[in-house]
């Protein structure tokens, strides 16, 4: 685990390559642990783990490989940041994806819009033919 210490903040990062569903399970399990270690109550840590699960699944299903990074930021501002990256075809209509509601049929929109609702800050950057980066932050109060 890479530990970056500055005079102000302590930041710990964990990197999870995503090549299979087993990797997704591993990442979300560890994510749950990290969140709890940071001090998030169980319900909030669960939400964080679910976001990792959703984003990880999307990578596995639509691109096949990618990575998820979980950063615990414990400086004056305390928060956890999840970054999901892949080098796939990209998301055509980011806005529509973010609006998607829950339904039994599933699909890309479901996981991403749900994840947005569970976190405090959410950002999707996607370039056709290049890849997608999704960043999500949850503040620790």
């Amino acid at each position: 685990m890479a530990q970056i210490q500055t005079s102000e903040a302590q930041t710990t990062k964990e990197y999870f390559p995503i090549n299979s569903l087993v990797d997704v399970v591993r990442a979300r399990r560890r994510g749950l642990e990290i969140a709890q270690e940071m001090g998030f109550p169980l319900a909030e840590a669960t939400k964080i783990a679910v976001v990792i699960s959703e984003l990880g699944r999307n990578i596995e299903r639509y691109v096949g490989q990618g990575a998820i990074t979980v950063t615990a930021h414990l400086g004056r501002e305390k928060y956890i940041m999840i970054v999901a990256q892949d080098q796939g075809a990209g998301i055509a209509n980011v806005d529509r994806v973010l609006e998607g509601g829950y339904s039994t049929s599933g699909g890309l929109g479901l996981g991403v819009s749900g994840s947005k609702r569970l976190m405090d800050k959410f950002d999707v950057q996607s370039i056709a033919g290049v890849g997608t980066t999704i960043k999500a932050i949850k503040m620790l109060r």
Partner: protein, 170 residues
């Protein structure tokens, strides 16, 4: 009693009994971190056993599950739909508080699926229905009002779809 095959997690779930029969219920202890393949195998197992035991109910016990995502919601729905076609209703039990909070936030409210606290309550529910269904078949009460978990009434067609063994001989 059937055992579950090893999952792709690389850890052998050594004869961890996941699916068991109890009265007219099929008890399923949903394991914690299932991959999509695990889920498919589990569902196949469940459907096979519904037929084998002529189960009226499938109890999905989620006491071991602490992370639920939209896939998990789809698993419950698809299992419920498939079981229904075979005449069995799904009851969900043991959902942890943190899991419920997340589900509700995601809008994953599992409509049309019974939810109870644990196995005891699931058994109580199944016995209650059995009494009522028997009374109806005997003609001692009106057939209309078999209310479902979320307040909607079960319709006659659905009742008619249940396996022949549930109908009393006239």
């Amino acid at each position: 009693m059937r055992s579950f095959e090893p999952s792709e997690l690389g850890e052998t779930l050594e004869t961890f009994t996941v699916v068991q029969k109890l009265e007219d219920l099929l008890l399923v202890s949903v394991p914690r971190d299932m991959t999509d393949n695990d889920v498919l195998k589990l569902r196949q197992q469940v459907l096979r056993d519904i037929r084998r035991y002529d189960s009226r109910w499938v109890l999905l016990d989620f006491s071991l599950v602490d992370i639920c995502d939209s896939f998990f919601g789809r698993f419950i729905h698809s299992t419920a739909q498939m079981a229904k076609l075979m005449g069995a209703d799904v009851i969900v039990a043991g959902l942890q508080d943190a899991v419920i909070e997340t589900m509700v936030e995601l809008g994953m409210t599992l409509p049309n699926i019974h939810a109870v606290l644990d196995l005891d309550d699931a058994l109580a529910l199944s016995r209650e229905y059995k009494t009522r269904e028997q009374a109806e078949a005997e003609g001692s009460i009106e057939p209309a009002d078999l209310s479902r978990a979320d307040g909607e009434s079960k319709d006659w067609d659905a009742f008619a779809d249940s396996p022949l063994s549930d109908w009393t001989e006239v």
